[in-house]
Amino acid sequence: MKQLVRYTCMLALPALLAAGCTTKVARVQSDSTIDLSGRWNDADSRLVAEAMISDCLNQRWLYKYDQMNKRPTVIIGKINNNSHEHINVETFSKDIERALLNSSKVDFLASKSERSQIREEKADQAENATEETAKPEHAETGADLMLIGTLNTIVDQEGNKSVVFYQTNMELVELQTNKKVWIGEKKIKKFVERAQATY
């Protein structure tokens, strides 16, 4: 009996150690919320995008263009990160762009950096492509509106506890008149408690 127990332990122990030492991967839903560090994550980006999209498409700024029987053209401007974390704002700005474009109520134009690539290609076409297929320069569509935004944070911390408040504001500005026609806002607040000790 003692030998049986000893052999069982000898076999079980390496297995247990191995199980504790291997990397584990579990696939989860892309829209699931998993908070690990307390910092800005994909769930936050998704919450901001969802809030902005539903608000943007349900506000009266679109009526003007509906009455003109015209789809407004929007360009994505600068979304300023004024927070204390390095956040890739494209994770939610692209979601907003995709949702608005797919709604068929809004047309989007390429952003400033995207346009420079396109202009390079057109210049290349002007030199190298056939006249019939080369896309003409100076024939771009001007945007009606620009989507800009800011992401701000307020942090209150004491010891191992902190409260982090994120506020994302996005605005649509008419390029011709500089009028702001829509302002969207999403606030997220987190309480983060770090373990002071572990075994």
Binding site: S83, H84, Q157, R194
Partner: protein, 452 residues
């Protein structure tokens, strides 16, 4: 010392890529407890090499490790009380953490990415706020003057003039309360920023002098500016300093140290108390018991630097401009050790005393009939206890000796510059920056290093 040997030759030749390659091939020298140092050393080296993307990636990883180390392992801390502090994960000194974020900030600024540079500024400010609460009794700043100075310039470049003025105010305060002398250029820049924002009361409170006739700073905003940051000379390392003396339970601690020139230094302080269990168990640790102990604590070892300053020449300038020292890492390291001196001694002495008592008890309990066996066991116990005692001499090895700054107002347009590292014997090396295009109101950062 092995990490030092790995990097010494490459750093003395400003061959940063070779240094990076050496570290990456010898990762084991850093060990699991020194991951912070691994990422910070490489991050700094990439920074000196001008490869800012890689530098920032490594520095941010080091920052993540620092954040994760907030949680302390109870078992690890307990073990370090018996063995030595080198088994604890390296958490760095506050000035190293500030330098980490400052370096990342400068990397972003060199790339023209003001937004992320300001993110680093905000992150660092949160750390400074946390530390100021934890160390309310601290009489000096942690050497964050240059950080605030750079942050002020970054805010100004972003047209956040209020924040620029606040950062300028904090820069002067940090220098005045810290171990680094306030550079005249930083004083002038702060005056210009505060005056531009109509903060006369701040100017009076800080006692800043009005700009001189020859000052390169002007009060009006919107000026284009070149800001040169130079890293000069090798930063310090830490070595062990051995003290020996007498510990009197519930009494005094008297320690001696012999300098290289033979002079003896003596230090006396109240003996750190033992735990109640120790005091009540056995005869040897009752009040008044004396123990002869030997402790090792870290001390700063500085390197002489060939590079004394950087000189900027350009057809756009009427005369060459020389950098000023804005950060002295030797001074910061010495100040950090001095601030932690009492805690370090208390912790080290407590550890050595507990180990000495444990060793004596072990020897008493293991007495055999054989004198030879007793001798061998006693000697082995004493040698083992002695060998365990090592000071924590870890520090980032890629730090510079000084960080220097020059700020030059220029008209917008294309400029070219030659920045030369200058020593006592003349120019040590130069780098040309051609086609530096300054937009109206832009602040351009150029970084240069000469760690010789």
């Amino acid at each position: 010392m092995q990490r030092l040997e790995l990097l010494s030759t490459a750093l003395s030749q400003d061959d940063y890529r070779t240094a990076i390659s050496s570290i990456q091939k010898n990762k084991k020298l850093y060990s699991a407890t020194n991951r912070y140092l691994f990422y910070m050393d490489i991050g700094l080296l990439f920074h000196y090499a001008g490869i800012y993307d890689s530098s920032i990636a490594y520095l941010l990883k080091a920052s993540d490790i620092y954040d994760a180390l907030y949680t302390r392992s109870v078992s690890n801390e307990a073990a370090s009380l018996l063995i030595n502090d080198n088994i604890r994960p390296y958490r760095s000194h506050p000035f190293e953490v500030i330098l980490l974020h400052q370096t990342a900030q400068l990397g972003y600024l060199a790339q023209g990415n003001i937004e992320d540079a300001l993110v680093e500024a905000r992150r660092t400010q949160l750390l400074l706020d946390t530390w100021s609460k934890k160390e309310a009794a601290r009489k000096t700043s942690m050497g964050e003057g240059l950080f605030h100075c750079i942050t002020s310039a970054a805010y100004s470049a972003n047209n956040d003039e209020d924040d620029a003025a606040i950062a300028a105010y904090k820069a002067i305060k940090a220098y005045r309360q810290g171990p680094i002398n306030l550079p005249p250029l930083v004083s002038e820049c702060a005056y210009a920023t505060l005056a531009r924002n109509n903060r006369q009361s701040d100017i009076e409170e800080l006692g800043l002098s009005a700009l001189s006739e020859r000052s390169s700073m002007r009060k009006d905003s919107g000026q284009s500016e070149l800001i040169v940051i130079g890293y000069a000379g090798r930063g310090p390392v830490l070595r062990e300093r051995v003290w020996w003396g007498t510990y009197v339970v519930d009494g005094m601690l008297i320690l001696h140290h012999t300098e290289a020139d033979g002079t003896m230094e003596t230090m006396t302080m109240p003996a750190p108390p033992l735990t109640d269990d120790e005091k009540n168990n056995g005869r040897k640790t009752k009040s008044g018991t004396t123990l002869h102990i030997k402790v090792s604590v870290p001390e700063v070892q500085s390197y002489p630097a060939e590079t004394k300053s950087f000189v900027i020449r350009s057809p756009s300038l009427t005369r060459p401009v020389q950098t000023e020292v804005a950060d002295d890492i030797d001074v910061l390291a010495n100040d950090a050790l001095e601030q932690a001196r009492t805690v370090t001694f208390a912790r080290t002495v407590t550890r050595v005393v507990l180990r000495t008592i444990a060793a004596q008890k072990a020897k008493a309990e293991m007495q055999t009939a054989s004198p030879l066996a007793n001798l061998i066991f006693s000697l082995t116990t004493d040698i083992a206890a002695d060998q365990l005692e090592h000071a924590d001499t870890r520090i980032c090895l890629a730090l510079p000796k000084t960080i220097q700054i020059a700020r030059i107002s220029l008209r917008p347009g294309a400029h070219s510059f030659e920045i030369a590292a200058q020593g006592d014997q003349g120019i040590l090396g130069a780098k040309t920056f051609a086609d530096v295009n300054l937009l109206p109101g832009q602040k351009k950062f150029l970084l240069i290093s000469s760690l010789r």
